[in-house]
Subunit: 318 residues, 2 copies
């Protein structure tokens, strides 16, 4: 029996899965959370130990890895983690190959999640998809001709930092009006807090719930308040959907993929958000450019399924 090992290194949550070749259900699957202060060495030791337990004495035929941060996929080397210290230039693929005596491929979570949805999720059968995660930030990954398109620096997919409103608010990236600044949960929450501090009547539902702990107001709170008709929440979500819609329409004009697949917390903001997004994307793209926009189906498991696909591709390449 040929089994592969799939690993998803998140910021504080790591997921492991063991899959048989050709299988569609995990033979074993487990999650482990890092304690505060954990570093790369701690995470590696924890995950390796757990992997050995899951493998139960078997050797994996191949290993695929999703990593939550920049990766040089050509050498399977982690460049760094924005959340966990000690990940600078760690040759994770090489370490895994030596530890488990099996070929390993590492890529960043946006690319790997795209591959997961493309092979096992709502992108099955599509030749070209763009997977976008709209959460704290906004990132994306391309599958072109069924393969991850990484770009010449491994930086492809950064729709979050395309500019759609050049006179818009300033983002941490230094630009104004990029998609992430307008569409992400973190920035929407920031704008809501700033606006409520200026004028508490702008968002009565939000103010009612968060006036004494504004710092806790997050993207989910906005979705809830919007569903209750809070005008500030509705306005911020409308702007989010508009900005992402322009970004998607622009990407459609540039690359003409078959399908856009959207995951992440903000995509659960409700029907009004999706409606504005779809209308805006359709208006931004040329009439001859066809595409659809679907919600991701694998949820938080997309990177783990994509890691499995990376491993299966290694088997194919043998």
């Amino acid at each position: 029996m040929t089994s592969i090992l799939a690993l998803d290194f998140g910021g504080t949550k790591h997921t492991l899965g063991v899959l048989e070749e050709g299988g569609r259900e995990w033979r074993a699957r487990q999650q482990v959370f890092s304690p505060p202060g954990a570093d790369a060495r701690y995470d590696l030791e924890t995950v390796f130990k757990l992997a050995r337990q899951l493998l139960n004495g078997n050797q994996p035929a191949a290993i695929g890895v999703s990593f939550g941060g920049p990766v040089d996929a050509s050498t399977s080397t982690v460049r760094l983690s924005h959340h966990v210290p000690g990940w600078e230039n760690i040759p994770l693929g090489k370490i895994l190959r030596e530890e488990f005596n099996a070929p390993a491929q590492v890529d960043n979570d946006a690319n790997v999640a795209a591959l997961g949805e493309g092979r096992f999720g709502v992108g099955q059968g599509m030749r070209s998809i763009f997977y976008i995660t709209v959460s704290t930030g906004v990132g994306g990954g391309w599958l072109l001709d069924g393969q991850i398109w990484r770009g010449s620096d491994g930086m492809a997919g950064e729709i979050g930092h395309t500019v759609v409103q050049p006179d818009g608010p300033t983002c941490l990236c230094g630009k104004r009006g990029c998609v992430e600044r307008l569409a992400s949960g973190r920035y929407m929450a920031l704008d809501a807090r700033l606006r409520l501090q200026e004028d508490s009547k702008a968002g009565p539902t939000l103010w009612n719930e968060y006036s004494d702990h504004l710092e806790a107001l997050d993207g989910k709170a906005l979705s809830r308040a919007a569903s209750q008709g809070d005008p500030l929440a509705c306005q911020l979500l409308e702007r989010s959907a508009w900005a992402l819609g322009v970004g998607i329409g622009n990407a459609a004009n540039l690359l003409n993929p078959q399908r856009f697949i959207l995951g992440g917390g903000v995509t659960k903001a409700g029907e009004a958000w999706w409606q504005t997004l779809r209308v805006t994307a359709r208006q931004t793209a040329l009439p001859e450019v066809h595409f659809d926009i679907l919600q991701a189906v694998l949820g938080d498991d997309a990177p783990l399924w994509g890691a499995a696909a990376l491993a299966l591709d290694l088997l194919m390449a043998r």
Copy 2:
């Protein structure tokens, strides 16, 4: 001796070339202009007759074609011409195969020019380029992994209709502030004429030369006037370079190609235009996204060289 036939069907100007396999100079090359009122049948007969003369009794081993309008490259069928009647759904590849008893591949001029610059021009040795023509309109073509990326409807490359200023002026495409509306020669000239009609002092150099035949004011006139310091011409060219720069920066964030290659009349507008373009593109792209922006070197010959590359690829695939 194996020779290939390269054809470039423009609106009113058609170019033909015969190249030996492995050659870097045309064995024969000729241009022919269509008279007003010419239709598809006339153009085909003229070009076929001239091709037979150039081939001088030899049979081409393969035929590559650039067509100035939408093409279904999967079947080498012309969809239509925006300039010449009678091109609706013409199976040009099939007609050529039967006429010359050789395999033929047809694609639109933006894709074929990209291939030309990629294989024979300033994109040689690059794995991923985006070729952009900035002329009457703004169009583009991708080479990814050395091959044309057409997208699922054959519509990829439409950077001219990406939106960079959503509250900007309205384009014929129905949207506001798309790159073509701000950066193309035709629209810059339109805006110059409108502005001069409102206020002739806005562009004294332009007004001096064109006040009695404003309709003749075109993109070239703007470049000339800008080089003489005309404020309206400078302002319109600055906006053109800014809009295209944002479009290029956005494309860099999305696809991370190695090189952007720019052809077309507007790219001859002078150093100030290039300076603004490069600075804006660099500011729009993330710091980790590297690329350069170079002027195309093949000029009007890019589609003909690309057509030769299409034909050579047919030989490789035998």
